[in-house]
């Protein structure tokens, strides 16, 4: 089964109908599931947030594998390696920034009265 590169026997990506259908159906289910959870879910916000995150990550994996063929590569899986590095950097940058900014906001962006209270509690005043 040839594909998008030059010679008939070489492949960069091996495409099949089944993969795309499975990817599409999986994504639809995960999208609908997330939507229904968000609009009709009755658990606490934190629980809902976690589930929505799980659904998003699941759909990410589905589309990465079935639409973007990240697991298929002849020889070293450079695309997978580069993607993993990217994910690591993204996680560090996003969660690092959230941690830092939350910390800064909590400590620095208070009303004057609350600032006084806070400084007193830190034995600065």
């Amino acid at each position: 089964m040839s594909n998008v590169t030059v010679a008939d026997h070489d492949e960069i990506l091996h495409l099949t109908y089944g993969k795309y259908v499975l990817g599409f159906v999986g994504s639809v289910i995960l999208t609908l599931g997330a939507y229904l959870l968000a609009t009709h879910g009755t658990s606490s916000k934190t629980v809902l947030a976690v589930f929505l995150a799980v659904f998003a990550i699941a759909q990410f994996v589905v589309q990465m594998v079935l639409f973007l063929h990240v697991t298929e590569e002849r020889g070293t899986h450079w695309r997978l390696i580069v993607m993993s590095m990217m994910l690591l950097v993204v996680i560090i940058l996003v969660f690092g920034s959230l941690w830092i900014m939350n910390n800064l906001n909590y400590r620095m962006m208070r009303s004057p009265k609350l600032m006084q209270q806070y400084l007193k509690s830190q034995s600065v005043l």
Binding site: Y17, Y20, A34, Y35, T39
Partner: protein
Amino acid sequence: MSETAQMIEQRREHEAAEKTVFGFWVYLMTDCVLFAGLFAVFSVLRHNTYGGPNGHQLFDLPYTLGETFALLTSSFTCGLAMLAAQRRSKRAVLFWLGVTFLLGLTFLGMELNEFHGLIRAGDSWRRSGFLSSFFVLVGTHGLHITFGLLWMAVLGVYTWKKGLTDSIRKRLTLLSLFWHFLDVIWIFIFTIVYLYGSLNV
């Protein structure tokens, strides 16, 4: 057994195509970091509504679901176009590319409509830090979609005029990677901006 000149040439072109696909993949990874930066900004500023409306008040989730399905389906039909390219059917490629284009255009139109509504109501990017980040994050994705549609149109014309040469099929591969990637990013916009936003997380 020595390689004939033709085999050497084929191998060289194959390596060149593989190199280009990989290079484009690396570019897509850098684009992911770009979006990650915008997501970081959105997450930090998501409650900075400055007295203005928040996501829960602004977002119309059924509408957004419709948008999402339009884009998701277009990602699927793009895959069908690639399958058609694999079996060298020029007409099927053009057909599915066309469907993908129309679905993408629908998505874009719905998004522009949403933006227009917000701006008309006075809730533009000037209103608050939250709205600034909303417009820029979602808008950047929309800009990428616009470029993708332009690329799709140009490539469609090339395919129609030149047929499914090796070069054209390589370019279709790149376009499909781009288009699928845009839907992956949308998963996170849908979840973090719209779903989380409507829940006020």
